[in-house]
Symmetry: C2
Subunit: 399 residues, 2 copies
């Protein structure tokens, strides 16, 4: 696989963490790095996973292969509860998670497409495309200077546009006006938007769109990829979906949905039947209430970290409607700041540069974590902040 | 996706079945078609799925993302119980099923490779490759005349050789000598074998190899794809694995395992953590005993169908060490025979032609099914067999 860099961001973070621990085996590290859930799955949802497991042991209730596109009731619930029935259940395809579905979309699009990705970006859009052999990749800088929204007026046309909102890693949420502009741009250029809404459940501000389909006409230009990972602690259980509107066509008039159907029926066999029953329970009223409380808990974590960071010399973005804080340490390089946080505070973060060149000087802090860890991290920042970024070595490390 | 035919075999079977039911709404159809498990999952394994689900609800036991390559204990158990520790756990990558892993292998190999597939073949090898844009595809006829083993002496070299044993659809199991020949052929030609052992648990004859790695030197030329689907009724739960030996290199000396690691860490996030705990339970001594009993149950189904078919004018293959019977109705075409079985016996089968040109004149019967259905199917065959294949229309339908 030529063209693929040797290291995926998170393994590199892990390597550096382990190297540090080798030298400092008793350091009480706290991770504010990887975006992994830490709160247990709410009872009503666990009960449904248990029930689905038990049924597989009974002759009358056992079932084997399910429909590859997913259990009908789950598709209906997603349409109803997450899309207010503006999307037809038949346009919803259940998956084993957003990352896996992105890989399958890349398999479908092949190597001949041109793509645009936000910079910084969740690495999978880029690296999965490179694995596929995609050659033409356009970068869309998203920085504080442009309100984290690409300058579409000067953007070259591509076949595919990846767009993530709420954004990983910046925590930015696109407004209605911004998404309208994006949809219009895609329509004008016959581009397909892959809209990643994996973090939609964190949006608290009701004036912000939770789905690309909140924009009129989006069905003709956009696929939306959703996930139960963060909403309900399903990172390990594996459940997500793609919305592929009937209205969406390739340049040549061919139905995207028909091709997707064909691809997933060939190289996918549906998400685990146990996980799918869990998904249905998430979307019951009681389940939604429980998972919304968890989203609020994580956002509160974010507020605690934000407050502790505010005393440092840095700019803080995100966190209000997303589980990520995107923090700029101007004129410093992010892998160096990463090392400083590791050494001085024993905090593992994620260096912004790992998400693309526009992530340089940034660190990403995740709001996922146990409250006691978050509070302890905040204490450390408060206690030692005067030392940070004082050492002369910072600038010299930065290349 | 040009090059891809409009219909996947099983959807076409379903369509014909539904058309028949529209005309004959009260026909008591029995399916001996799709290879889907029907026996419930044994208790010890269900208990482990339940426990894994419950743990996700407890703060102390909750876990999010697992290692993408799978839970260590499951990898160790597979190495120990299924490969007698001849394979290192670190060469085993857990997946959400064989079909999905085949798709990822095809993504890794891309469009520029040449491939060889058995004819008849499990459609995914072929169709997934076509989706990837593979152009050079060599057919390896496997018929009663060559003991269902390809004529390697006259076979053109390809980069990849797909080989399935016990075979779907023919039920043939390759001998040690045959697999030695295959490994030697691959070694000579610097080909990589993708050995699909999804049905290995059905092998009763101890003189037959259950893994390609039973052949010395196979680690240098072969990937093996395994599955828990059929062994334990996990078709809906989704769990399998790929073995990628450290010794396996691409033509240019690059490590296949390193590339695989990179690919799965980019576009996959591991199998469901609940399913993986179930996999560990399957491989406990008690679990293995229970699932072996189920394999024997299905093979007994196969014997019952075989006995009923013996009175018909046909040749019967497979069934002894595989859950499929491969039945030739000489000089008849398989879609016509399919229709005859549907109309006369109300039995749904799978037309051999759907698996490739060498499947013409064959039907595939699956041994998966409830015993009462199998016995009823056998009764129908016994009662009406004199009528079968008597109608003149058979030959004229066949194109």
């Amino acid at each position: 696989m030529s063209g693929l860099k040797g290291n995926y961001l998170f393994p590199e973070v892990t390597t550096r963490k382990l190297n540090f621990l080798k030298k400092n085996p008793h350091a009480p590290l706290i991770s504010l790095g990887i975006g992994d859930t830490t709160q247990p799955i709410p009872t009503s949802i666990v009960n449904s996973l248990v029930k689905a497991s038990q049924e597989l042991g009974n002759q009358g209730e056992y079932s084997g292969y399910g429909p590859g596109e997913g259990v009908e009731k789950l598709r209906e619930k997603i349409a109803e509860k997450l899309y207010n029935n503006k999307i037809s259940p038949s346009d919803i395809f259940i998956s084993d998670g957003a990352k896996c579905d992105i890989g399958r979309w890349q398999m479908l699009f092949g190597s001949e497409v041109s793509i645009a990705v936000q910079n910084p970006t969740y690495p999978v859009y880029l690296e999965g495309s490179i694995i596929q052999g995609v050659k033409k990749i356009i970068s869309m800088p998203c920085t504080p200077e442009n309100d984290f929204f690409p300058d579409l007026k000067n953007l070259e046309r591509t076949d595919i546009i990846y767009f993530c909102s709420p954004n990983n890693p910046t925590g930015a949420v696109a407004t209605y006006e911004q998404l309208e502009e994006l949809v219009a741009f895609a329509k004008k250029n016959c581009s397909i938007i892959i809209f990643d809404s994996a973090y939609a459940c964190f949006i608290q501000d009701e004036s912000l769109p939770k789905s690309i389909y909140d924009i009129p006409g989006a069905k003709e230009v956009a696929i939306e990829i959703g996930s139960f990972s963060k909403i309900a602690g399903f990172t390990g259980v594996r459940l997500g979906w793609s919305v592929v509107p009937e209205e969406l066509k390739f340049d040549d008039g061919f139905s995207v949905k028909a091709d997707w159907n064909r691809l997933v029926s060939t190289v996918f066999n549906g998400a685990s039947n146990i996980a799918q029953q869990g998904g249905i329970a998430i979307l019951e009223d009681s389940g939604l209430e429980e998972v919304h409380a968890i989203a609020k808990f994580y956002l509160e974590n974010g507020k605690i970290i934000k407050k502790a960071l505010e005393a440092l010399e840095c700019e803080i973005y995100g966190g209000d409607n997303a589980p990520y804080l995107w923090v700029r340490f101007k004129d410093h390089c992010s892998w160096t700041i990463f090392e400083e946080f590791l050494e001085k505070f024993h905090l593992v973060t994620t260096p912004g540069a790992g998400f693309g060149s526009c992530g340089e000087s940034f660190l990403r802090f995740t709001a996922f974590g146990h409250r006691e860890d978050v509070l302890m991290a905040a204490e450390r920042l408060a206690a030692q902040q005067e030392d940070l970024l004082m050492s002369e070595k910072v600038a010299s490390y930065c290349l």
